[in-house]
Amino acid sequence: MKADLLTPFTNAACQTFKLLLDVDALAEAAQGVDGESDQSNRVHVAIGITGDLTGEVLYRFPADTTLEIVKTMSGMEFSEIDEFVTSALGEIANIISGNAVTDLSQMEIVCDILPPEILGDGTQARSNETTYAFTARVNTSIGDIEVLLQLQS
């Protein structure tokens, strides 16, 4: 039942891609995303959740997808993941999570989100310490984003 709590996040991710980037996106449940995929070339953004749910949602964006997102929004070229790029990506994650939380409130689940935290690539990520119980993948034409949700019961 709790896996359903991930749906508002993946739905919001799809909507945000469509609206902000004109990119079609499709979510799929993904078992074992955590251990299997290569994290070395991804940017991780974590957003804390408080309220009726307590935990964290983690978004993993491939580096080239990240650059493409920022290029599309700014109309400028970007060749490396710098402070501008991570900040733009953090705001994307913030928008997605904000929309997901609005969606959850319609299911009578009232939560707040914390400011985005950029965890860099897989080497800095905390996924080793934290177990993300619910994982999904959002497939888009500019790359696949992983969405992981970890909740305290």
């Binding site: 945000t16 902000l20 700014s74 402070e83 900040s87 733009a88």
Partner: protein, 137 residues
Amino acid sequence: MIWKEKYKIGVPLIDAQHEELFARVTNFVETLRSDKEWDEKVNSVNDTLGFMKDYVVTHFRDEEAYQEEIGYPGLEEHRKTHQDMVSYVGSISEQYEQNGFKEITMQQFAGKLVTWLVNHVVADDQKIADYANQEGK
């Protein structure tokens, strides 16, 4: 930033202001991202930043006045979104002045600003247009 037809909400004043706001943000971001050393560009970054900030205030005020005029029910929420952005810009500017105009502060600010603005125009401001159309205003 690239202005798109789909960003229009169908109110000439607001559409023109959005386009102008995009132009000023673009000017600021292009100056910030130009290939020069920070020392060489910091003054023009600060000028374009000021020019952009002034316009944000004007535009938010006019857009809120329009919402009031048509009796938009989401006005209070929208006003809060504007106010949150204005206070974020205020606190970043303060931090930037206090740290002696550090480049990293502006790079972080600009990345968030670009994303916020695109989302605000396509999501929040479009809702004003939806209401106006629905009410035949």
